[in-house]
């Protein structure tokens, strides 16, 4: 019974966080791809809004995450899932570089894509649909690569077994 109540709280606060996040994007004007592109267009009439949005979000975030780092459990008693990786590799850099290209082509990134769906924007839905397909393609490639990897390692273990 207690566990179920915890799950309901967790779902409720997830939805609330998503709602506040979405409202923040609408208020900040960041659900509007034209305003995002106006930030990315340094050589045109530049609109610095996005930098101010990120800056003020980070100010709050700095406090929240410094508290979070000191705890292993959240206020709802859930494990604190903070990323632990510190490796700066090709995936991170190439992924980031490519994301900037995709973002710059439309002015839409993943969170505003869902907010645009709520606006009833058909163009937003087209972006969102292809973004979800893109994530599916990534998963397919990853699982294929993992399969290949496990095949090779299995082959190596088999070879070692037959040697001994």
């Amino acid at each position: 019974m207690k566990k179920n109540l915890g799950q309901i709280y967790s779902l409720f606060f997830s939805a609330l966080a998503g709602l506040i996040f979405g409202l923040g994007l609408v208020l900040a004007g960041m659900a509007n791809p034209a305003k995002v592109l106006a930030f990315l267009d340094l050589a045109g009439l530049w609109n610095p809004s996005l930098a101010i949005v990120m800056g003020s979000a980070i100010c709050i975030g700095l406090v929240a995450f410094s508290i979070a780092k000191k705890h292993t459990r959240s206020l709802l008693g859930l494990p604190m899932n903070l990323p632990t990786s510190r490796i700066i590799d090709q995936r991170l850099v190439l992924g980031g570089l490519a994301f900037g290209v995709g973002w710059g082509l439309s002015g839409i990134c993943p969170a505003p894509a869902f907010v645009l769906l709520g606006f009833g924007s058909i163009k937003g839905a087209i972006f969102l649909g292809f973004m979800l397909i893109g994530m599916g393609i990534y998963e397919l490639i990853e699982s294929y690569r993992n399969l290949e990897k496990s095949k090779t390692s299995a082959a190596i273990t088999n070879a070692k077994k037959s040697e001994s």
């Binding site: 998503g18 530049w46 709050i60 290209v101 839409i108 969170a111 163009k123 893109g134």
Partner: protein
């Protein structure tokens, strides 16, 4: 550099940004999760028991935001300049690359920098850099 003073809205930018910060703060302090949309979505492609509900709930919250806004205020105008073909290409690139690079504007840009993560700072510099470059090429070199 020419600044577009007419469309520069510092107060709504600050208050909107604060809301993004509050949402991320609530999410990590209550749910113990990072408000990174790509990571939240990514987990749904490899669904695990008891790991689906919170992801779907967050996304539903995002989608409902404009509808909730519309009940009290008129929604601001949105303008998507890109053609449908360009949106498709852009969406595909964003989908693949954000999963490959483990994050997007929310996960690396807001939450990652707030955690002072070197990985996220580098990722953010990378996508900001190519974002600026892409818009420069599209608008001023190719002049589409």
């Amino acid at each position: 550099m020419l600044i577009d003073w007419n469309n520069f809205t510092p107060w709504s930018a600050i208050s909107g940004g604060v809301m993004l910060g509050i949402a991320s703060a609530l999410f990590i302090l209550l749910n113990g999760r990072i408000a990174g949309i790509c990571g939240i979505l990514g987990g749904l492609y490899r669904p695990q028991r008891n790991d689906i509900g919170w992801r779907v709930a967050f996304i539903i919250g995002l989608i409902l935001a404009p509808l909730a806004w519309a009940t009290v205020n008129t929604l601001p105008n949105i303008n998507i300049e890109a053609s449908n073909g360009l949106l498709a290409i852009s969406g595909l690139i964003v989908g693949i690359s954000t999963r490959y690079g483990s994050g997007c504007t929310s996960g690396h840009g807001v939450c990652g920098i707030s955690r002072l993560s070197p990985r996220s700072i580098i990722a953010t510099l990378a996508f900001m850099g190519t974002g600026f470059l892409t818009v420069f090429i599209v608008r001023h070199v190719l002049a589409i």
